[in-house]
């Protein structure tokens, strides 16, 4: 069966774009499908200081502009469309698009990424966009001179807490443990910032508010006590959940949290199907390893295509 493409890459973040770069340079007949604009979650990152080659750091926005320009230089075919489903079995794998169209390829790289995880507490959905936010770079400027909270203790939470001090009068970091997971240099910056205070061993129980939006957080402390924290905004930065809604769960092996299991060469449980970046089941989610996995997945796909080569 003749497929439309040798390779389809689903997702245009750092993993998908790097896979695309390698595919374009390998002169594969390849297509990258992205639902919005290329860049992925990095677009929501204020500043990137840990991507090698940028000694002065770079904004998330600019880094992804550069990655997009890089694949454009090698003329990777891109398409902006929503993938609603896929059939990954057999030699020709089918991608279903939101407009009813189908496209086939012999290999697929799944680089669909992840999105911010929710707290799952009362008030979170009700006040979403009215004080509850998952993107500090997007919504920080709406909180000038206000008192706000950040939930989380990882790199994203601490990086964005520091960013939010540019706008807010006071930023309270609420963390369920007694120490941060964020890298040491971010911890040092946060501890030295007199606009940031910490509430340790504490979880948010409920988000309350009125017509104006969020007004109060109900907090539960580890010692069994509770308290109320008056804030106008709460930034929830507690990790990610997989963008897996379009994946065929009955065909593809996922872990308990819904991320795709692969081997060390990025091969999934289905021959010819690879995964890279934040959608992959793994411990660490960094821009640099997403990019590295994208390269690895593409090289694995190439090898698979070479082994499957047919006379026509």
């Amino acid at each position: 069966m003749q497929a439309d493409y040798q390779l389809i890459i689903v997702g245009g973040g750092p993993a998908g774009l790097t896979a695309g770069l390698y595919a374009a340079r390998a002169r594969l007949k390849a297509l990258l499908i992205e639902k919005g604009a290329t860049g992925g979650q990095v677009l929501t990152t204020d500043w990137v200081d840990n991507y090698p080659g940028f000694p002065d750091g770079i904004s998330g926005f600019e880094l992804m502009d550069k990655m997009t320009a890089h694949v454009d230089r090698f003329e990777l075919e891109k398409r902006f469309a929503e993938v609603t489903g896929m059939d990954l079995q057999g030699t020709a794998k089918t991608i279903f698009l939101g407009n009813g169209e189908t496209i086939q390829a012999r290999t697929i790289i799944l680089a669909t990424g992840a999105r911010p995880r929710k707290l799952d507490v009362p008030g979170e959905n009700e006040f979403s966009g009215r004080g509850v936010s998952y993107c500090a770079t997007c919504d920080g400027p709406f909180y000038r001179q206000q008192e706000i909270a950040v939930v989380g203790g990882g790199n994203t939470a601490i990086q964005e807490a520091i960013h939010l001090t540019k706008f807010a009068a006071k930023v309270t970091v609420i963390h369920r443990r007694d120490e941060l997971r964020a890298t040491r240099i971010l911890q040092e910056k946060a501890f030295a910032n007199d606009k940031i205070t910490f509430i340790w061993n504490t979880q948010v129980q409920a988000i309350e508010g009125d017509e104006s939006g969020v007004t109060t957080l109900r907090l539960a402390h580890k010692d069994g006590t509770t308290s109320a924290l008056p804030v106008t905004g709460i930034f929830i930065l507690i990790g990610v959940m997989p963008n897996n809604e379009m994946l065929p769960r009955e065909q593809l092996e996922l872990d308990n949290a819904g991320f795709i299991r692969t081997d060390t060469e990025m091969a999934t449980s289905i021959p010819g199907v690879y995964a890279a970046g934040d959608i992959r089941s793994k411990r660490f989610r960094q821009i640099i390893n997403a990019a590295g996995e994208g390269a690895n997945a593409e090289l694995s796909a190439e090898q698979y295509l070479a082994g499957q080569a047919t006379p026509h």
């Binding site: 639902k35 919005g36 604009a37 860049g39 990095v42 677009l43 929501t44 990152t45 998330g60 926005f61 902006f80 929503e82 609603t84 939101g98 979403s128 966009g129 009215r130 004080g131 936010s133 998952y134 993107c135 770079t137 997007c138 919504d139 400027p141 709406f142 909180y143 017509e211 104006s212 939006g213 905004g233």
Partner: protein, 109 residues
């Protein structure tokens, strides 16, 4: 490609261009520093082409126009508000998919 069907509105012309519009209007409140706003940009352009003549798709830069977002209590972007006969029909916050935006628009048709 950016669609020429998207109307760029501001604080001073909002009443004339959106509130008084005979067509339902979907207004995308955005800012240049907002990554997810950029991410849904191509979807907004597609919607403008697809709903041309039936729904006016508009964009407002909240950086340059503080009054209107304040009036509608916007504290997160992108926020998309659907207006019909000058009244708010419904709204969505965040970079949602095209299908969800089509569902939103259909509430005014």
């Amino acid at each position: 490609m950016a669609s020429d069907k998207v109307l760029h509105v501001n604080d001073s012309d909002f009443d004339n261009t959106v509130v008084a519009n005979d067509l339902p209007c979907l207004v995308d409140f955005w800012a240049p520093w907002c990554g997810p706003c950029k991410a849904i940009g191509p979807v907004i352009d597609e919607l403008a082409d697809e709903f041309d003549g039936r729904v006016q798709i508009a964009k407002m830069n909240v950086d340059d126009n503080p009054a209107t977002p304040g009036k509608f209590g916007i504290r997160a972007i992108p926020t998309l508000i659907l207006f019909k006969d000058g009244e708010v029909v419904d709204k969505i916050t965040g970079a949602v998919g095209k299908a969800q935006l089509v569902d939103l628009i259909n509430k005014a048709l």
